[in-house]
């Protein structure tokens, strides 16, 4: 008998371990997929020697390396100011590549300058973006490839591969090449180029990992882009030809974090306050009715909140900002004040809890408070802000107020994360042992004091878990951000302007990005960056929880 139970125990333990570990492995697989997709972005290119075969297998057109086709110049580019214009490509002849429309190269013997047209006070004028220095002098140079790279062979025989926008060479083949007679360099495809001279066979070099590569600086620092007046942090991936892709992740990460912040600012007080009331103050007999009712807010999915907010709330909020601020500021004050004055009417009898009438009275007070808060906001707006806060701010402070702004996102996202925080925090508070509070109550402390000193330390780990889950939900929420944030990567600290979050960007762009392209990889990297960011936050939270558990812990 005992043996059978032991066998069951051992088998069950093994099964549980195997099953859990496999689930965790699947989760790990997901993270691994993100990392594996994103990290090749930073591979550094290297040049190697390749051999040229005169037949190319595969669907692309045959490569013709005769001197005639070398002169055919299939890959010529508009605006190339130089006579080293050559490109040989095996791309279908109907397709003319245009890697850059926004800038051109001005080539002199030892310096190449990348120029673009910049809009100034008197129209468009050329301006330098990048300078490339080739001290040994240029022997031969290629055209600009579709990945916006070009190859320079200098007179010392060193091959440099440059990218538009970056003055440092991306790759260098240092073993000198015999330069005499080489007068042309041509791209065979995006990664392979050949050095030609009249008599000999072309010397083929290929560059590994040239196309899908960026650096961390491209993703996180200020960059001067073609056609822009100043260096910026911009997110605008190229979708149509000729445009340079801008992949700065800073606006996206900033937008995600500010959306989460605004939503927590609105949701945390309400969720925690409600959790404390339902879990601590309220007679437990009502809990079975009230708690599900509040949890019903979770039944409004993010997409519904987003749709209704966009169609109903947004048109009204733009006129009601002052009223909203009035409500948010005055309601807590009025409710608290009414508590001070009215609480004498709500006293306990020994052994009984507060009158059931209390929530009704609070409801009434709330209604009055909201109404007066709105009217107060309106009044203040009329008196001090010339009738419209929005115009006043724009006129005197140059602050712009957008239609899709952080307040709108904060309200909608706050409603979305509220149930998560409420449910878990309330459970944490409700499950604390009675003795935590009764001790200090017996000694004459007020209820709130007993809560802070007795219940809160024990419930704190659970409350922190609730907040962390709510924060995670706010960071990962897609629909609300997609429809209500305006998707403007402007990186503003004002709640009156819009933002662009990583999740919304992924939802917009990921389904259409070509698999394994730079864009695709950058999108995955943005998810990875978000993951790393939240990892730090969650680690701090977990450490806090462990510490509190150890100090005030109830269970082992």
């Amino acid at each position: 008998m005992a043996n059978r139970r032991l066998i069951v125990d051992v088998v069950a333990a093994a099964a549980i371990k195997v099953a859990s570990v496999s689930v965790l492995l699947v989760i790990l697989g997901m993270f691994a997929q993100i990392a594996i997709t994103a990290l090749p972005l930073f591979e550094s290119p290297s040049i190697s020697i390749g051999t040229l075969s005169t037949t190319r297998t595969g669907p692309a057109a045959d490569l013709r390396v005769s001197q005639d086709s070398v002169a055919n110049d299939v890959g010529s580019l508009p605006g190339f100011v130089d006579d080293h214009r050559l490109g040989v490509s095996n791309i279908h002849p109907a397709v003319a590549p245009e890697p850059t429309k926004g800038s051109w190269l001005d080539v002199r013997d030892t310096i190449i300058e990348q120029l673009h047209l910049k809009a100034g006070s008197d129209g468009l004028a050329p301006s330098v973006i990048t300078r490339y220095f080739i001290p040994a002098g240029i022997q031969a140079m290629s055209s600009i490839s579709l990945s916006r790279h070009f190859v320079v062979l200098d007179r010392a025989g060193v091959i440099h591969v440059y990218r538009l926008g970056r003055s440092q060479a991306r790759a260098t083949f240092k073993e000198p090449v015999e330069v005499s007679g080489i007068n042309r360099v041509g791209w065979l495809d995006e990664n392979t180029f050949a050095l030609y001279s009249h008599e000999q066979q072309p010397l083929v070099r290929s560059v590994k990992a040239l196309t899908n590569t960026l650096s961390l600086a491209d993703l996180f620092s200020f960059r001067q882009y073609e056609g822009y007046p100043l260096p910026t942090l911009t997110w605008q991936p190229r979708v149509v030809d000729g445009a340079e892709s801008k992949y700065s992740l800073v606006p996206l990460l900033w937008g995600t974090m500010s959306a989460a912040l605004f939503s927590l600012m609105l949701a945390l007080p309400v969720a925690l306050g409600a959790a404390i009331y339902v879990g601590y103050y309220m007679p437990p007999v009502f809990r079975e009715a009230i708690k599900p009712m509040i949890e019903m807010i979770a039944a409004f999915p993010g997409v519904v909140i987003a749709g209704i907010a966009m169609l109903w709330l947004a048109p009204r909020l733009q006129y009601a900002l002052a009223e909203f601020i009035g409500i948010v500021l005055t309601v807590p004050i009025i409710v608290a004040l009414s508590g001070l004055f009215l609480n004498r009417y709500f006293q306990t009898k020994p052994g009984r809890h507060f009158s059931k009438r209390l929530p009704m009275v609070v409801l009434l007070v709330l209604a009055i408070a909201i109404y007066s808060g709105a009217k107060l906001g309106e009044g203040v707006e009329g008196l001090f802000f010339e009738g419209s806060v929005v115009l006043w701010l724009e006129h005197y402070y140059g602050l712009s107020v957008s239609y899709f702004n952080g307040v709108l996102v904060g309200i909608a996202l706050g409603i979305a994360v509220f149930p998560t925080i409420f449910s878990l925090a309330e459970e944490a508070i409700f499950a604390t042992p009675k003795g935590a509070a009764t001790g200090s109550l017996a000694l004459g402390a007020s209820q709130w004091q007993s809560f802070i000193d007795g219940v809160l330390p024990i419930a704190a780990p659970g409350i922190v878990a609730a907040i962390m889950l709510g924060l995670s939900r706010a960071i990962g929420e897609t629909m609300i951000l997609l429809l209500l944030s305006g998707n403007t990567p402007i990186q503003s600290s004002s709640p009156l302007e819009g933002m662009r979050s990583v999740a919304a960007t992924l939802a917009i762009e990921l389904p259409e990005a070509a698999v394994d392209s730079t864009h695709y990889r950058v999108l995955f990297f943005s998810a990875l960056a978000l993951f790393v960011l939240t990892f730090f936050i969650n680690t701090c939270a977990q450490l806090l929880r462990r510490r509190w558990r150890r100090r005030y812990g109830v269970a082992a």
């Binding site: 997901m30 309400v270 009331y277 992924l506």
Partner: protein, 338 residues
């Protein structure tokens, strides 16, 4: 063995019944105000949705002149018909139930493993942090992962082993309701795990130790003592999971939802649940309508009625779960487990 939580109070007996007369404090009012405003918010949102759906709403045009949702639905402009709505309701309920079937056992399993079997090391902490992080990954990544891993790899494998007759037309190697349910389960797994683990952590040590002292094996303790005691946390986790899953549209778009599906995923012909079919989903319809609504005046009403159906479906599922939770609480309180 009774544990001394606030939860085992009966009726109007109060934790604060210490014999002294107390006045309602300011914080009581404030927190009560928060709770009341939450309830007001809920009722307000429901009323708003219903009003928009059936009264036409006011969107710049004169209220009362816009047709309500019922009229628009009866006009039958495809795919916004009553049949499509019904099909979407069925699809939503089916995928949510399937997801619950997957996420509840798995969530319990992982939480129990972490709490009982794994011990407290730095790497288990790392796993916990990882699970919390999982909740913050944008939902469309789950869609991409679900597509690559479940649909193409696992589904492709299933096709090769079981349905090689139908190849090259994919049966399971293509998006469908099964993969959508599993993807949603992965999405909501952290919620369930966190909730269950928190519940387990709140149990007094005496419960576990007492069970061991009486000679129960670890497995028996888990199944007979710990899990029943945390049933409420499990159900809370499932409630939150269901609520999140019904609203996630982005991953579903990649793994099996279509704008118009000619057949239901459940039907009276064997095998009754067609796991490989694509399906319609109310959340996706709301998203689609918000962005691509047909011209005409009934558009807002249409969006509102679809949204209302989604909310009602979610509410019924979560109410069912909450009632279940209440009965667990009652049942196990009666048995003296709490």
């Amino acid at each position: 063995m009774r544990s001394d939580t606030l939860s085992d109070l009966q009726g109007e007996e109060s934790a604060f019944a210490t014999g002294a007369v107390r006045r309602a404090g300011v914080m009581l009012w404030l927190t009560s105000g928060m709770a009341v405003s939450a309830v007001v918010l809920l009722i307000g949102m429901l009323c708003l949705l219903s009003w928009l759906a059936f009264a036409g709403g006011a969107f710049g045009a004169e209220a009362g002149q816009l047709p309500g949702a019922l009229e628009v639905l009866s006009q039958g402009q495809s795919p916004y018909t009553a049949e499509a709505l019904f099909s979407a309701v069925v699809g939503t309920i089916t995928v949510t139930l399937l997801m619950t079937l997957v996420v509840a056992p798995l969530g319990i399993l992982v939480a129990v493993y972490l709490h009982v079997y794994a011990g407290e090391h730095w790497y288990t902490d790392l796993v916990r942090i990882g699970i919390h992080n999982l909740a913050g990954v944008p939902s469309i990544i789950y869609g991409v992962f679900g597509l690559g891993f479940f649909v193409y790899w696992v589904g492709g494998g299933v096709d090769e082993w079981f349905f090689s007759n139908s190849l090259p037309r994919a049966t399971f190697g293509t998006p469908g309701i099964l993969w959508a349910a599993i993807t949603l389960a992965l999405l909501t797994l952290p919620t369930v795990i966190v909730s269950v683990e928190e519940g387990l952590l709140r149990l007094p040590a005496s419960l576990r130790e007492g069970s061991f002292a009486l000679g129960a094996t670890r497995f028996e303790t888990v199944v007979g003592v710990l899990l029943p005691a945390t049933m409420t946390s499990v159900v809370t986790g499932v409630i939150l999971a269901v609520a999140r899953a019904t609203g996630e549209v982005a991953p579903l778009m990649l793994v099996g939802v279509v704008k118009y599906a000619p057949s239901l995923p459940v039907s009276v012909q064997a095998p009754f649940i067609h796991l490989e079919q694509k399906f319609m989903h109310l959340g996706y319809l709301v998203y689609d309508l918000t962005l691509h609504a047909p011209a005409g005046d009934g558009r807002i009403a249409l969006i509102a009625v679809v949204a209302l159906s989604l909310v009602l479906v979610t509410m019924s599922l979560t109410t069912f779960a909450a009632v279940l939770r209440g009965r667990f609480r009652y049942q196990y309180a009666q048995e003296g487990l709490l």
